[in-house]
Symmetry: D2
Amino acid sequence: MAVGVWLFGARGSVAVTAMAGASAVRAGIAGPAGCVTALTPFDGANLPGFAELVFGGHDIVETPVGKRVGALADDGVLPAAVVRAIQADLDAVERSIRPAPRTGTQAVQASVIVEDILAWKRRHRLDHAVAINVASTEPAGSPHPAHTDLDRLEQALAGRETALSPSSLHAYAAMRAGCSFVDFTPSAGAALPALDQLAARERVPYAGRDGKTGETLLRSVLAPMFATRNLPVHSWSGANLLGGSDGASLAHADVNAAKVASKSRVLREILRHQPEGHTRIDFVPDLGEFKTAWDLVTFSGFLGTRMRLEFTWHGCDSALAAPLVLDLARLTTAAHRVGRTGCLSELAFFFKDPLGDEVPGHGLADQWTALCRFAAELGGAAA
Amino acid sequence: MAVGVWLFGARGSVAVTAMAGASAVRAGIAGPAGCVTALTPFDGANLPGFAELVFGGHDIVETPVGKRVGALADDGVLPAAVVRAIQADLDAVERSIRPAPRTGTQAVQASVIVEDILAWKRRHRLDHAVAINVASTEPAGSPHPAHTDLDRLEQALAGRETALSPSSLHAYAAMRAGCSFVDFTPSAGAALPALDQLAARERVPYAGRDGKTGETLLRSVLAPMFATRNLPVHSWSGANLLGGSDGASLAHADVNAAKVASKSRVLREILRHQPEGHTRIDFVPDLGEFKTAWDLVTFSGFLGTRMRLEFTWHGCDSALAAPLVLDLARLTTAAHRVGRTGCLSELAFFFKDPLGDEVPGHGLADQWTALCRFAAELGGAAA
Amino acid sequence: MAVGVWLFGARGSVAVTAMAGASAVRAGIAGPAGCVTALTPFDGANLPGFAELVFGGHDIVETPVGKRVGALADDGVLPAAVVRAIQADLDAVERSIRPAPRTGTQAVQASVIVEDILAWKRRHRLDHAVAINVASTEPAGSPHPAHTDLDRLEQALAGRETALSPSSLHAYAAMRAGCSFVDFTPSAGAALPALDQLAARERVPYAGRDGKTGETLLRSVLAPMFATRNLPVHSWSGANLLGGSDGASLAHADVNAAKVASKSRVLREILRHQPEGHTRIDFVPDLGEFKTAWDLVTFSGFLGTRMRLEFTWHGCDSALAAPLVLDLARLTTAAHRVGRTGCLSELAFFFKDPLGDEVPGHGLADQWTALCRFAAELGGAAA
Amino acid sequence: MAVGVWLFGARGSVAVTAMAGASAVRAGIAGPAGCVTALTPFDGANLPGFAELVFGGHDIVETPVGKRVGALADDGVLPAAVVRAIQADLDAVERSIRPAPRTGTQAVQASVIVEDILAWKRRHRLDHAVAINVASTEPAGSPHPAHTDLDRLEQALAGRETALSPSSLHAYAAMRAGCSFVDFTPSAGAALPALDQLAARERVPYAGRDGKTGETLLRSVLAPMFATRNLPVHSWSGANLLGGSDGASLAHADVNAAKVASKSRVLREILRHQPEGHTRIDFVPDLGEFKTAWDLVTFSGFLGTRMRLEFTWHGCDSALAAPLVLDLARLTTAAHRVGRTGCLSELAFFFKDPLGDEVPGHGLADQWTALCRFAAELGGAAA
């Protein structure tokens, strides 16, 4: 049975890699490497199959998906053979990507989005769809009185104000169209009380935020090591060098600040204090779709002896993020099927800055345990 | 109430740092950084206090402990102020270190050890003692028919043969003297069926082996990250550069092989296959008591995109190992108090190559969970 | 014959290490490691001996030299044994350090400095002295019309304006007191036309600027490797983590910018283009007197194949800079003795941002060749 | 005017990349990145053009060049577009590669090689050719009495003995066929007194050995930095991880030893002592045509302060070596044209273990100066 995946930022590297990868897996020419839900603990969780996912989305960019895929192949992210094999699929997806509305009141823009999604669901006979935000990171938003109450929010949207940042407007519209919602970026997205109320009203689940694919992923396994070994961490510094459009966007100071804030939480929460050191993000176009993160940790042992750990991570963001997008689509869909609504804090394993009051810690291992338990519950509930 | 800690290799860096550190903690001039059992989960586990530990041991080396401590201060492992403050304590310990027996049949040597331990226990009115092997790594031993049966072993020891490697002879003698036993090295130690039978007969617990303090510690948190993220690991290579006497000993090919074998298990068990790559250990005297480990991991993501992780660990083995020696003394003593005998597989958190049929996996997080559960059981049993 | 070395910033880490080191070398308890002029090519260059150097200086800080030396010993920069052995020398130096003047017109401040220097020269019967600026980096200065003409400058100094930055005021006063001048920081110092005129009038040489001791030193040997191997460098990124007072000062945005500007020249000049990438400097107090620099270089080879080089430098700035301060004192004194005046561009080997129209390139090897030729000339001229 | 380049090991990665690259440069679809002789100092040196090089060679392997080129494109060493454009050229080269003779006395094998080369020269109307050894590294050879005298050597070759290693037999046959000879590997090649006599008799120049493309290249710029800054180097350790056929060959202990010996010279010569530390070479097939080298240097500064430098080089051997092969062909041909015979020690810039009594040091900068002077001489002699 087909399951919809609506991507905000549908022409970006992560979205395009996710769609191309799903096609390749469906065609049997690639395996689900990097997909967490392909592991044994999810076997009985009643997740929709990779082959059942049907894509659509919005973007303000107009570069055709086929062209983006070609560029990713040139950059070494997608194998040329895969790209050739999935051409027909990509043409189909291309027809399901709509221009993001950019004029009118926010209420009007939201209506356009709702209509686009509903039309697409009808056309593909989709019972349910998950909307996932993989657009560029936006600057940290300003608080607005309408954020705390759904009624006030809907009044504000109808006025001339810009009450919501784009990511939150996407969350609003997606839920209004009956979709579950996932924020894969550090943007506000669904993380507002008014939108939590909307999720309850529309009876949809949501999850987020900011997919954990590199430096923060490593920090979420290394910090617990220092903590459980009782080794005091004095400083933790990080340099992140990124090419690609993600890097270009993060070169803007306000977007950079939003991303760094999302990254800083994991150390503070696991180590129970904020160690010295800064986390820098710099744009280096030559790195293309790849990203290099270098971290230096200074710590001490028995009787104060000083020691150091350094790591360098050289990763391809799209190749790490795209399979997680498919995982989140499958898990959120399954959660909706068993009647879960509101924040899915059990999905913290995927996020730098996990949403929810009951987050299972910031260490990756605890998050993994919680995720496996969630998979078991999904299996039990569906049985 | 005083608790004995008998160290085989009592004049080595790890032993001396453990003894100096325990004195410093008792004197209130240093905290228990690096001691796992100082963390909250062990608060109610009825562990003996750091101040209750009384040290003694054997060594074939004759350099006085005071001189070794001075050398460690010069190498930056121990602060000069600490060394000055604990001089009296070290003099007391010096009197409890006996020359390791090296002549006569293995039965005779074992008797000397047993007598030395019993005399020390009487002198210090110790109810119980833990013997911990922190001597140099020995070459991998050869199998011997007497290893599988305690009776045959005791007959063999009385003969002219060398039925046991030194570490196993230490384990044998320690248990015969009523001690619990811990092997902090990759040597055979108690890991023979005949010695498991002896532990049952003498009603003592044992644990091991090979303290996990650097490269393998990191591998035990990084490998689960790749596994739970479903990222195929293609190669994992390691270069270990060590100074100090540990490095000098590992410069011997057969000892080197024993150590590398102990290290190789963690990746194979967690990743479910042995990735390509070698683990090298080289002696670089200039590094002194410090050790540098460099690892390169190559892996792939969605659709086969190639990525890399590198880390460099610059650690002081003694400053990492010594607090764990104190932890193991406390935990093994508490286990003995509540009547545990035989292999303590719950202590896998501490070891590269954990002993026991029921080892809670090789990932550090699972081992931590098992250790915390064990602490809770100790608390419950004692209550 | 005694030779004076007057240090602006005399209570800072570099100055104190230089003075302590010179004492230790004189006392025969340490060798001249890190001193370039102790190498064979300088044997016949008629340089003053290390034992002939007599120190004095100004500082706005009041912490006694003896206390600073103790702190450096605690931080592992100076050996405790050395500190004990040179106590008497340090007491003597302490009496030669004067508070930096901070009130009155700049002309008045300059007079105080001149008087302090002349009194010290008389007291120690010094024929000649070199003044070296090792004070904290100052923000990049603003241009001032008086900078281009010595007469206008002297008029401006007598007025209420602040015509010169502190480092340039130091250069002005030092030359007025008949001293040679060296700027070891990225500050303006003597690098103004008016001060070049002053050097000519006073018949003194000067040199600068910004001692090359870490990341830039490495760049000055690695960049020529890429250039002479015709390997196109696409990006060169750097992260510098510093503790100490130097780090604290560089945490200020304007000072940071001045330092980064000084660092950026070497790549552009050697590679003949400015590669992509940023150079960051961050303050991490925990690193103390040490500094960690990490650089990532991306480049390509034949037919565009992409490759990478990474390095991590973990150095102690004082231990690298202090011996160069002694070298510069010796070389500049010898240059003065043979009648050299004005800019000594032959000393480019020592600097990140070398002054002079005839700088022998930015590659370290070319600078070394020029320095050795200069040493030979000094030897020939003196013969 | 056509110039021959005869490659021993003509189907290996370096040879195939060199041939493909020369074609691509000739076709104008790639530039000479990585070719040293494309830099300005060689403009007037009367070198043959890249377009004039005509290739042939021997190999014991039979995989067609076209197939090897395809594999290199799959491994990211050659761009697919280049491979398509040069197909016709590669077919022509394929016809000029002969099976290496493997039976008969060494005299007979040499005759086969001589005949193959002469036939190829006639067919392509080549006045002169350079033979370059890019075959797999061979184990260090044993001394043989015939190595010191050409007459004895020629007698020995006619007998049943194996008087020469393969690389030296290649050098012998190449010179007999009137070719200049270059050894790009650490093998013995022309480095025997008897072959030096042969070069004189045949009036041909030769050069070697072991192309410097990664770790040793870096050591040849970093070691002079430590030396000229008078910073004592205590240890220098290296780990080299290689895939590809070069890696497979170096997995054999005796070949490994020969390579490590070649690498060890540079540090000893530049630093004037052999620092502690080992250089390891390990085969990691997953790295394919790429190589990762990690080095750790420990050194001290003023008053013994301990510091460290680490670097990681991630390079593609073929993309670094192939352009140097073209450089060596051009330079050796030009040397032959102006009448140079015997060892060309001026080409040390290219080699790990440069041959010749008058080698211009082991630092890259001095070697570069010597190379530029040689280029100027070639220009002058030809004028």
